[in-house]
Each structure stands twice: as C-alpha cells, then as structure tokens.
C-alpha cells in the first residue's frame, strides 16, 4: 500500500550463464524480474522484499517468435503484445493470440511477458493484502472462512488454499499442450504446460514448478494442433484490466462431422488451468450439437465444491464448455 519499494540490489545479466551464477549466489534472496508487472506490485506493497533482483530482460535470445519443424518457439521474454500481434501465432494458435490479447490492458501487455504471465502469483485478495495465510507461510486460509469473500476463488483441488490461477495464456497453453523450457545451472529441462502449473497440494507457496534458480526461457507449442478448430473465451467483469472469473480454451479436430480429438482447459476454477477431461471424453467421437452442449453443461463442473460466493462458476463453466462445442458446428 505504501507505493514505495524497499531497497534492493539490482543485477542486469546479459546472458543466461551470468544469470545462473547470480541466482545461485543469492539463493533464496534472489528474485527474477522480467516485465515487472507482478513483481512491482509486491515490491511497492512491501509484502515481498527480495534483497537481490535479477533483471533478465537484457538477456539475448529469450525474446521472439520463430517457427521450427514441428513446433513454434516463443521466448519467455516475448511481450504479450508481440504474441497478440504475431501473424504466425494467429495462423496456428489463434487461442493464444486471443488469450494474450485479453490479458490486463494494452499498456500492461506492452511490458508484460509471456513468461511472466504464466509465472505470476495468484491474485487472491487476502494473500495480496499481506494476510499471513498458508501460501504466505502462515497457518490459515482467510479466503475460506465461513464469511470469507471468495467470489473469484476455486471450485476444485483446494488444499488449504483456495486461490486460482490468474494466467489467461496458461489456460491456452495447457489446451495447446505446450512445453515449458526451463534453464538451471546451464542445463535445460522441459516440462509439459499441464505439469508446469502446480496446486497447493504439491507446494502451497508456489504456483508453478519453478524453484529458486530456475529460469523459464522458452515456450514451445507443438504443431499438432496448428490448423485445428480452436476456441477461447474469457469471462470477466470488465473487458480490460481484469482477471478471468472463468476462461476456457479448446483445440479440437473434427472429421466427418464428429470430434476426433480435443483438449479443453479452464482457467479461474482452481490453482492451475484445469483440463476439462469430462468434457473431452464426452466430445470424442460425438457430433457437436444441442445434445452434446446439454451434456457438456451437465458434466463440465462435476466434482466442483462451491465456496461462499462462487457457485455461479458452476453453471458458467458448463455454459462456456457448451459455447466451445457450439463453435465447432
């Protein structure tokens, strides 16, 4: 709330090796800064006070979109605006263009990066307001009390924490079966997008597999889904500068009027983008139409546990699944 950042040492490495060394030497006191759209909020509120801020925005090779033989590569530092405006992305993966274009506001998209958008912390208002909750190292979830204000919170996979993923692009990347490339100590590993995001049951203090010392460098999207039928929709209170109440992303292949393959994910309903496997299983081999839409509404939110104020997400989830199916007609 103070709007005044704490003092920290700022490092601006120009290559991954330098960055890796810095991250190693500062250990838990280090913080990676890219577009800064999430970091500066934390710093200005003084709820996070890292001693060493490693600004990776000057590292060459982490920015840009390029087409490879069987995937499209997006550098983690590529801005959301560049993704939104990329003809290549629009051609192969329109749901990613649309998701990027629905993030925050034009100003934020100009500075915010894809890597930052998928790595950002949850927007739970209690956590963001400095409450000593589980996620912040405490022993209570303030968003899940009998009177908590939790309209934006989770329907699924709550484990002490009921926060949801705030990432619009994450929902699209899970549907697209993207791969996240992570560098650590000069070595690179790959993690499927679906496993990149983690829930509180795995680690309540993180939203992704990224640990101190890891740098997300690249996102690869397989061409398997290029040219497929795709659908993205984000429902929010406002048309700009707002996080999703719910978002849905779908890629599907239709042959002979029937769905032959499909991946569908949903944002805003749990700590990670949620694969809508109930709906996927329902759709495969079926003809899109009213009946399928009705059945999708029935199964989309199976297992949901509503909190005090978010029961509306249950029909909304079904409605969005139905709309995705309708887009295939």
């Amino acid at each position: 709330m103070s709007d005044v950042m704490h003092s920290f040492d700022l490092y601006q490495p120009t290559n991954l090796d330098e960055a890796a060394k810095l991250l190693k030497s500062h250990g838990k006191k280090a913080w990676i800064l890219a577009g800064g759209k999430d970091s500066f909020d934390w710093f200005k509120d003084r709820y996070k006070r890292p001693e060493a801020v490693i600004d990776i925005s000057k590292i060459k090779g982490l920015n840009g979109i390029s087409e490879k033989a069987d995937y499209v590569s997006i550098g983690a530092l590529t801005t959301l605006t560049d993704i939104e405006e990329s003809a290549l992305i629009e051609k192969h993966f329109p749901i990613l263009s649309q998701a990027a274009g629905r993030v925050a506001s034009p100003q934020i998209r100009n500075a915010g990066t894809l890597g930052g958008n998928v790595s950002q912390d949850t927007r739970c208002t209690y956590y963001r307001d400095g409450f000593p909750c589980y996620r912040a190292g405490g022993n209570t979830c303030y968003a899940n009390t009998p009177t908590a204000m939790n309209r934006e919170h989770a329907l699924f996979e709550a484990s002490r924490c009921v926060a949801v993923t705030p990432s619009d692009t994450g929902t699209a990347l899970v549907a697209l079966d993207a791969t996240m490339m992570i560098s650590r100590d000069g070595k690179t590993r790959s993690v499927p997008a679906e496993k990149f995001f983690i829930g509180p049951a795995i680690d309540i203090t993180r939203m992704t597999v990224l640990e101190k010392g890891d740098i997300l460098t690249e996102i690869r999207i397989p061409k398997k889904w290029a040219g497929s039928k795709q659908y993205f929709e984000k429902i929010a209170d406002r048309n700009t500068w707002d996080f999703a109440l719910i978002s849905v992303a779908m890629v599907a292949k239709v042959d002979g009027g029937k769905v032959t393959d499909v991946r569908m994910s949903c944002g805003g309903v749990q700590c990670t983008p949620r694969r809508m496997t109930n709906v996927e299983d329902l759709m495969k081999g079926e003809k899109p139409g009213k009946e399928l839409e009705t059945l999708a509404k029935r199964v989309a939110a199976n297992g949901a546990k509503a909190l005090n104020y978010n029961q509306f997400k249950i029909p909304l989830m079904g409605n969005l699944a139905a709309r995705a199916i309708r887009s295939l007609a």
Binding site: M1, S2, A104, Y126, R151
Partner: protein
C-alpha cells in the same frame, strides 16, 4: 436570446496543458530541501491505542520529523481526524514521518510500533442496530453531519424478527418527514409494490490521489492540494491547519478528478502543512498511494432500504413510504439518505409521501458526497421498480413515467418534505425528446431473445440533483491594457465550467473572448469567495456571480464615461470594448476607463467595496485594489425555490444469459439544463457521466471482509471502475431546447450529477427487462448475479447483505 459567447463552443485555456502533460498537479510540486512524508495507518478497523513507539523510527537514516496524533487537534464525536489516536477504520492515519527521501520515510514507518487493543467493529449497519450489535464508535452508532448528533440507537429484537431475512427491519428513525395522506393513498391505489433493497458503496477512485505539499514562509502557509474547489476550500483548510484564512495560500490549479470526494478541503490535505510547521517551514511532500486513496478518499454511502409505492390505474403515484438505513462510514459522512426522499419527491411527484432514515456508523472508510449522493442510488433502485409496476398495470413504462414527472416548466412541481417550488423543470420534455430521438417504440418492439441467444432489452432512467445556489460573490478587473480579468474562486474540477461561467462577465461587457484572462487556481490570484465546485451548482451559481460582477463593472464604465466625457451614465453604452455615447461620436476605450478608475480610486478601483461582500472577497479585492477598474459584487438577484438538474436516459442492451455479460448497444441521454453554456463541454460531461453511471450499475465493487473489517477491492483492477472498452465508442447526448431557467440571468442550470444516475438507472431497468422483469433490488448488478438468475439458482449474498459485492 442571442448571445455572443454563451451557448458557443470555445477552447478552455487549460486544455493544452492537460493534453501535453504540462499541467502541474499537487504531486508535481518540487523545491530545494523538500522532504517526504509517509503515514503509519491503522491495520485494524476499530481499536484503542495503548502506546506508540517511535524510538526506532526516529533514529532511521534521513528522518527529520515524526508527527503524532497528540500533536494535532482531535475532533469531537465522530469527526474526521488528521492523525487519529482512536482509529475507526483500516487505513486511518495515526503517525506521520518525514524524511529526506520517500523511501527513508517509508523505511522509518515500517519501524513504528503501535500497541493497539482491538475493539468490536461493524461493517453492517443492520448488525449495529441490533440490541447487542457492535458500535463503530465508542460514543454511539448513529451520526450524520446534517442534523444527526452522535448517539446510540438500537432497535428491538422484535423489529428484526418481524422483518425476517428478506425485508428491511424498521425501528426508530433519526430523520423523518411526511406530507399528504399516505395511508389514504395506498388505500386508493390499484397496485401497491413493496421492495427491500441494497445499494452498494462506491469509492471515488479519482485518477489523481489526494497528494499534497506545503511549506511556510514569512508567517504564511503555502499548500499545493488536490481539490475540486478553490476559494471555498480555504477557510476549512485554514481551520485544519490552525491559522486564519488570510494566512493561507492554497494552490489548486488542477484537480485530477474529485466526484465529490474532494469537494473542498479534507483532513489529509492539512498533514504536510502541519509537518512543515514542525520542521520550521521546510517543504513537505505527501504522495498518496492508490491504496491510501481508496482508504482515505471517501466513498458513496451504501443503503439498505425499503420502499412501498401505491399506483393508480393510470400509473399516477398516489403514495410512497420509504425507509433508508445508510452505511455512514466511520465519520459523520454525508446525507445521501436524506436525498433519497427529495429525489423521489421531485422525479415522481407522489401525491403523498413518508420518508424515514437512519445513518449508522460502520468501521469502513469515511463516506462523502459522490456524484448524485443519494439521488443516484434512488434512481437505481426506483427505475427497475417502475418497470415492474408498468408490467403489472399493463402500461408502457414510458407512459407510466410521463404520468408522474414534472415538466412544462415545472410551475406546479413540488419537492421535498415542505413541498417547496422549483425554479424550472422539464423532465417530461427530456423524456419526450429522448423517446423520439432514440426510436424508443421501435426498439422496444425488437426486444427479446435474438438469434445469437442474447436477450435484447431497452431501459429508461431518470435522475435529479439540486443544481444551483445564490448569494456568492463575483469579481472582474479591467486593466489599463484593456484586458478583462475574470477572477474566479470556483475551482477546476475538470468540466471547464470555471471557464464557461466566466464568459458571462465577458458577455455582459461585450468583450472579445481573446481579450479575456481568467484568474484562478490559487489564493495569490485574488479569488473572490465562491461556493465550491460541487453539487452540480457551478453553472447556475457562477453565472449569477459573474453576471453581478460584470454588471458592476458595466455600471462603473458608464459612470466613468460620464465623468470623462460629460453627461450622465445613461447617455452611454458599451460597444466594442469602448464606452460610447448613445448620441454623437464621443467614446473612450475600456483601457482609458481602467486608467481613470485607478486615478479615481474609491469604488472604481476597489479601494472601497460593498460591505455585504464576504470576507475572503474583501481580501481578494484588496489584493488587486488600485490596479484597474474593478467590478466586484455579491449576487443579490432574486431566487425562489430549488434549482433542479434533471436528466432522462434511454438505453438498449444485449444480455447474454450464459455468461452474465451485458453489451450496451446504444445510449442516449437528454438533460434539462436550461440555457446551454458550452455545448461541447456539456456533451463531454454527459458522455463521461454516463460511463461513470455504467460503473455504478454494472462493474464497480466495494467489498469488506466481515470477519476482519478489511477491504478486498482497493486497487483499480479489483474495484473495477469501467473502462472505455466497457462502453460503446459512441453514445448520444442531448438537451431540452429553449428552456431557459427564469431565475438565472442567462437561463443556465447545473447538469453534472443526474447524468450518472439517469444512465445507471436506465441500464438497471434494461437488465431487469431482459430478465423478464426480475428485480435484483441490489446495485450493482454484476455478472455472477445474472448467471445465477439465468441458472435459476439463489444469489450468494443474503438479501440485505452489504459491502459484499
């Protein structure tokens, strides 16, 4: 009437600096040696302070001063403290620290330790009214700055039990009035509707937070502040600082949004001045963050209410009974709830009416006036009910409105408890004009489910606000170079009405606008004492003051003409910035007259002024006395009755029942503003006000956690005022033509506030129509509420729950 300047478009002089970024706001103040102030604020909604430890903070690097609540005057009862030793809301300033850098100041604030004992707190007025409910203030639970002293009022357990969960309980009121035979009206009625409702609070969210800077020099305090008003803010700010108005130079050249939340001065504005005083006058800058602005930047009062309306078969409203429980916030707040009664009485002209209300303290941020305080909440609640009534009576809802609204000049219109007169009223004409221009009938026929699955609907809104005062001062000066200087203390809220109203003085004197300079924006500009720029009053009030000052200058010019050229004043007239003999060819320029005025002295150059002028005006006149021909006068023109600004809005929406999303397809707003002063400015105001109204109705959130008494939506992205992507790129604006208000010398009336309420209530009426007449009886109506209705699920909030959306 044919005017040279009034009713014509022009470019206000400060537009260029705003567009280019050259405009200097309070936060842009810089000077050598300036230190920075940061605040330690209450983390608790209600607490007793047991001790404050500043020892570590004082010894932090760069710290130059610490100010404690014991060093500032503490208000009585439910007053609003500058620094409080008894915090009554989260975010209330307790200690201030000044340091060489802002970061050092914040680092020191982080070292302050305040030992606090939490007290029971309240964020729901109805809870506080329960016999054993919490009181937001140890001195009581009910207070309001308009006629309600701090006191404790509790209702009986039986009051609550009888009401149940769905209906407003109604115990003892703090304010009550009645006219006509209300019970008789209900007996005669063909249809009686009874509804309980909730209207949410709204933070003001001014783009410019209430940052301020101050220094002292030669016994004078200089403050750079963000306020809607200029001279009106001086006495109250001087009082906060503890000095006389003449010792204060308040610079208020620009205001980055106020909406009533910066109506004039406020406690926080005085803080840099008090710190600077402690530092022997060293300049102090207090930059207020977005979060601090939310917590200290005022908010519209929320309502929990009940209304019962009796309609005749032809739609005429025979009786209204009403009760409003106001969430008054942590201090004496504003009298929104009292305006509920006035607004219903003028817009619907009920034949009989009873109003009861009670302002209940809560441990939420201080509530202040926000655009249409009370009147716009009223519109938002009433207009969907009017739609319901029309359906039940089998009438078109426009016809039902026309059966009740004041119009045809308003000679028979009445307002409020005393059923007093109004100066003019053309709401009927606004509705008729709007309906025609909007093709209301044709659009209504197209309403219903569309091929895309969305539901199209139209809605109508109406709103009112009192819009004009009298008895204030105007001052103009003609300098020896012949230029006209219009001195105005009204303020620069952003509507440019300070400039539009200044043109009246130029009109009276026949000036070319290029030869007019507006003197404004600070005490050193010699501002007369004007009422502030709030309450939609500027157009009416300031045209009168500038007319009075212009006429005073005109009379003096004619007299000087007679002195210099012989004969009587009546032998002369003003033409092309000259005093010209009606017969013959003799003339003198205004420049020559100004020189003569200086030579003559006395009343001509303000060496002597009317004793009826207000004190600050006399001081301002003294500042420029002897520098030209001075026209300075009190507005003594007659005025009888309330000046009503009235607006009607028409909207067409498409509601998506699957997502809760509502698209505004088209919107038209017609205002009854009397003579238009500045068409371009009025159009911009109407469009901007409508956007703000859509936020009020549809997107803005105000949420407090009932267990912790803390806000859940402080930032813009959480509180969600509407953006330009949430409204149509183009909306229509218009006004009723040829309806000059006879009690204003140029026929003008105010405009600003009912625009918002008309737009928001039209939106809500349309949403209700789209959902087959479903009444939410709750504002705002947000996506989840629509999804719940479409899915036939109950709402998540309890019927009268407050501060929850």
């Amino acid at each position: 009437m044919a005017y040279k300047l009034i009713g014509k478009n022009f470019t206000p002089p400060d537009i260029e600096s705003k567009v280019t970024g050259a405009a200097k706001y309070a936060e842009d103040f810089r000077t050598d040696g300036m230190v920075h102030l940061k605040i330690f604020a209450s983390p608790m909604p209600h607490a007793k302070i047991k001790s404050i430890d500043i020892s570590k903070a004082k010894s932090m690097p760069g710290v130059v001063g610490v100010l404690l609540p014991t060093e500032v005057k503490q208000p009585k009862d439910a007053g609003h403290a500058i620094l409080s030793n008894y915090p009554v809301y989260v975010g209330q300033p307790i200690v201030a620290v000044a340091a060489e850098t802002e970061q050092q100041a914040q680092d020191a604030v982080d070292k302050i330790r305040v030992d606090m004992e939490p007290l029971a707190f309240c964020i729901d007025p109805l809870e506080s009214l329960k016999p054993s409910g919490p009181d937001a203030n140890q001195g009581g639970n009910v207070a309001n700055r308009k006629g309600v002293k701090l006191q404790k009022i509790k209702w009986s357990g039986k009051d609550f039990a009888i009401a149940g969960d769905d209906k407003l309980p109604m115990g003892k009121a703090a304010t009550e009035w009645k006219y006509g035979d209300v019970e008789g009206g209900f007996k005669k009625a063909k249809l009686v509707l009874e509804e309980s409702f909730v209207s949410s609070a709204n933070a003001h969210h001014a783009m410019e937070p209430r940052s301020a800077a101050a220094y002292w020099a030669n016994g004078k305090c200089h403050v750079y502040g963000s306020t809607q008003s200029s001279s009106f803010a001086v006495p109250s700010l001087a009082k906060y600082i503890g000095i006389k108005p003449g010792q204060l130079n308040l610079v208020t050249e620009f205001c980055g949004g106020g909406f009533g939340g910066k109506a004039y001065s406020y406690p926080l504005m005085a803080l840099p001045a008090l710190m600077s005083k402690k530092l022997n006058g060293r300049p102090v800058m207090m930059r207020v963050s977005r979060g601090e602005e939310f917590l200290n930047g005022m908010a519209r009062a929320a309502f929990q209410g009940w209304v019962k309306i009796g309609f005749a078969e032809n739609g005429r409203i025979l009786a209204v009974d009403s009760f409003v429980v106001q969430d008054n916030g942590a201090t004496t707040g504003f009298w929104d709830y009292q305006n509920f009664g006035d607004a219903i009485s003028i817009v619907f002209q009920p034949e009989s009416m009873r109003f009861r209300g009670i302002p209940v303290l809560t441990n939420t941020p201080p509530k202040g006036a926000q655009r249409g305080p009370g009147e716009n909440q009223t519109a938002n609640i009433m207009e969907p009910i009017i739609e319901k009534a029309a359906k039940k009576l089998g009438m078109d809802s426009l016809a039902l409105r026309l059966a009740n609204v004041p119009g045809r000049g308003g000679d028979s219109a009445k307002i409020g408890a005393k059923q007093g007169p109004v100066t003019s009223a053309y709401l009927r004409e606004a509705l008729e004009t709007g309906a025609k221009k909007f093709n209301y009938d044709a659009r209504k026929k197209k309403a219903g489910k569309q091929a895309n699955g969305k539901i199209r609907a139209v809605g109508i809104g109406e709103a009112y606000h009192a819009a004009g005062y009298n008895g204030w001062d105007g001052m103009v000066r003609i300098t020896p170079d012949g230029k006209l200087h219009v001195h105005t203390g009204v303020g620069n809220l952003g509507t440019y009405s300070y400039a539009a109203t200044s043109r009246v003085a130029a009109e009276v004197l026949g000036y070319d606008w290029n030869n007019v300079i507006i003197e404004r924006g600070g005490s050193l500009k010699a501002m007369p004492f004007n009422i502030g720029q709030f309450g939609s009053n500027t157009s009416f009030t300031m045209t009168r003051t500038n007319y009075a000052a212009g006429m005073d200058a005109k009379n003096k010019l004619l007299e000087i003409g007679a002195i210099m050229m012989g004969g009587k004043a009546d032998d002369y007239e003003l033409k092309n910035e000259k005093v010209v003999a009606k017969k013959g060819s003799k003339s003198i320029t205004f420049a020559q007259a100004a020189k003569k005025a200086i030579e003559l002295g006395g009343k001509y150059s303000a060496k002597e002024v009317d004793k009826d002028l207000k004190g600050l005006t006399k001081m301002a006149a003294k500042m420029i006395a002897g520098t030209g021909l001075i026209g300075v006068a009190k507005d003594k023109l007659p005025k009888k009755g309330t000046v009503p600004a009235l607006s009607a809005a028409f909207i067409e929406i498409e509601l998506d029942p699957e997502t809760g999303n509502v698209d505004i397809l088209d919107h038209l707003l017609i205002s009854d503003v009397g003579q238009v002063l500045h068409p371009q400015g009025l159009e911009a105001q109407i469009r901007g006000g409508a956007v703000m109204g859509f936020g009020l109705a549809a997107t803005e959130r105000y949420i407090y956690d009932p267990a912790y008494g803390r806000p859940n939506a402080k930032g813009f992205y959480q509180a969600k005022p509407p953006s330009y992507l949430d409204v149509p790129l183009k909306t229509d604006a218009g006004w009723v033509e040829n309806v000059a208000d006879k009690q204003n010398p140029v026929g003008a009336k105010g405009v600003g506030e009912p625009i918002q309420g008309a737009a928001s209530s039209a939106y809500l009426a349309a949403v209700s129509n789209a959902l087959d007449g479903h009444l939410f009886n709750r504002v705002p109506v947000v996506a989840d509420m629509i999804v719940n209705v479409a899915a036939k699920m109950p709402q998540s909030n309890k019927p009268l729950q407050i501060n929850c959306q």
